[in-house]
């Protein structure tokens, strides 16, 4: 079966600085993959390369077998790849509802709508008129997830969902994941905090210094092996 998304020897970086050195990753439709690794391991760079914010070679990223590396971000989102960016990146001038509506710009059809997002995160309905950035961190994360879902993605990329959030809030956010995958959406979660990521994923990739240092199913990997791959010790 053709994987939903696959990278082959993916290299990427910023100007003179190379951050990824040949990453091979593949994700079957319906799967959730976790990418873990310390700060600077190349996790965010990897997601930026998938979404077109960085421009890798065309053949390095395959979506349903089609080479899409380096396409413009607005073209990649139309194919069905949506991103919840690190730090949420809500639009401060826009209300909660307007932030969600912007997520629907790609006009992809599917199960998600503003109404469905409000059903999943009822607090957002109450706050729909207020500026997105006046919400608490956890609520902002809900907006960022909802905004990404508004494009009815086949693949949702989540960058550091837990960043800066209290453990109890992180639990709430991750509780929404099964609702999302239940709609047939595949997910890649990138995390430094590995507990939630491992619980949610069928496959885990550990990144270190721009390469994959370990991969496997969370059930099969021992804590020692993960920690060795994570820290390089």
């Amino acid at each position: 079966m053709t994987p939903l998304i696959e990278t082959r020897g993916l290299t990427a970086g910023y100007g003179q600085f190379q951050a990824l050195f040949g990453v091979d990753l593949s994700l079957e439709e319906g799967q959730t993959v976790a990418i873990i690794g310390s700060n600077g391991a190349g996790k965010t760079t990897f997601l930026r390369a998938l979404t077109g914010l960085l421009r890798p070679d065309r053949e390095q990223v395959l979506y349903r077998g089609k080479a899409i590396g380096g396409l413009a971000p607005e073209k990649i989102v139309r194919l069905g790849v949506a991103m919840v960016p690190e730090g949420r990146r809500l639009f401060p001038s826009l209300s909660v509802e307007e932030n969600l509506l912007i997520g629907g710009l790609s006009r992809r059809k599917g199960p998600w709508s503003v109404e469905r997002v409000y059903e999943m995160f009822p607090i957002l309905r109450e706050k729909r008129k207020v500026p997105g950035t006046s919400l608490s961190g956890g609520q902002q994360q809900m907006v960022a997830i909802g905004r990404a879902l508004m494009s009815n993605p086949e693949l949702l990329l989540c960058d550091e969902l837990s960043l800066g959030l209290a453990p109890v809030v992180i639990k709430d956010i991750y509780a929404a994941l099964p609702r999302i995958t239940g709609e047939g959406c595949s997910v890649i979660v990138v995390e430094q905090d590995i507990t939630q990521a491992l619980a949610a994923a069928q496959t885990v990739y550990c990144f270190r210094e721009g390469q994959v240092s370990l991969t496997g199913s969370p059930a099969e990997l021992s804590r020692e092996a993960i920690s060795a791959a994570y820290f390089g010790m």
């Binding site: 979404t51 914010l53 413009a72 971000p73 607005e74 989102v77 139309r78 949506a82 991103m83 960016p85 990146r89 639009f91 401060p92 001038s93 826009l94 307007e98 509506l101 912007i102 997520g103 710009l105 790609s106 006009r107 905004r147 494009s151």
Partner: protein, 288 residues
């Protein structure tokens, strides 16, 4: 009575300055682009209306139907073909490129129309006035210009807060990269912003050319008035820009009433006072 008269004339003149400034405010607000050729495009629009009048026999107000779409189209093409390439982290690049455009436009106008001073003839209503009682008269034409300024700014506010394009404009102003992730084509969005800005420039240029004489070298002072209105009003707020235009117009009218030679100077002094007392402008919205 004289004082009130001066004040009213100044407020109405402010409408024209607000129209000068609207395009500048839009392009800076949405894409942080400072267009140094803005004033020359105002003059270009005036000459376009002149040419349309000579070639097609159109009166200035009818010529607007040609000038506004032509300027908007020029704006779209210019942004898409040239100015988008200058955007980025370096503020200097768009400044240099638009400065170059300013020189080019001025010289093309000189070639095509000579350095002679021109004026568009609006017709008899141009000099008509209505009495408000107590010896107070306002010109019909300045009143129309002011009403148009309010209409344009009100319309743009509706566009910004009620339409999808407006939402995308505001989001682009916040975070251009993330809007791209949501499916917006940044190059197209920027070009739409420039098209709207230049459409307003088309209107402003024709209204200006009916009011006063113009020549190819007049762009610089139009740019200056536009800048002053934007800064006085506060960045990113179109109603603020209208207020900025009014402050500038009133200052000039007061200066001119004291001594005709002081008209322009008084506007600049008002601008400097605002910069000293409230450098963020009267009603800022963009935090930068």
């Amino acid at each position: 009575m004289g004082a009130i008269n001066t004040l009213v004339q100044g407020v109405l003149l402010g409408g024209l300055y607000a129209l000068f400034a609207t395009g500048l405010s839009l392009t800076f607000g949405i894409m942080r682009l400072v267009n140094l050729a803005h004033g020359d495009f105002i003059v270009l629009a005036a000459f376009l209306a002149l040419a349309a009048g000579q070639a097609l026999g159109l009166p200035p107000i009818t010529a607007l139907a040609v000038v506004i779409p032509a300027m908007a189209g020029l704006g779209y093409a210019l942004q898409r073909g040239l100015l988008n390439r200058t955007l980025g982290n370096d503020m200097l690049r768009p400044l240099l490129v638009t400065f170059g455009l300013s020189v080019i436009v001025q010289n093309l106008l000189l070639e095509g129309f000579s350095a002679d001073s021109q004026k568009l003839q609006g017709g008899a209503w141009e000099t008509a006035s209505i009495g408000l009682g107590g010896g107070l008269f306002v010109g019909v034409y300045p009143l129309i210009v002011f009403a148009l300024a309010v209409l344009v700014i009100g319309g743009l506010q509706l566009l910004f807060y009620r339409t999808e394009l407006g939402r995308v404009f505001r989001a682009t102003s916040d975070d251009r990269e993330t809007v791209g992730l949501m499916g917006a084509n940044n190059n197209h969005i920027n070009a739409m912003a420039m098209a709207i800005a230049m459409g307003v420039v088309g209107l402003a240029g024709v209204l200006f050319a009916i009011r006063t004489n113009f020549d190819p070298a007049g762009g610089g002072s139009r740019l200056l008035f536009a800048f002053e209105a934007v800064i006085i009003g506060g960045l990113g707020n179109l109603w603020g820009t209208l207020a900025g235009g009014v402050v500038l117009g009133v200052a000039q009218a007061i200066g001119g009433a004291i001594n005709p030679g002081w008209q322009i100077l008084a506007g600049h002094i008002a601008f400097l006072i605002v910069l000293l007392v409230r450098p963020q402008g009267l009603f800022p919205r963009v935090a930068h």
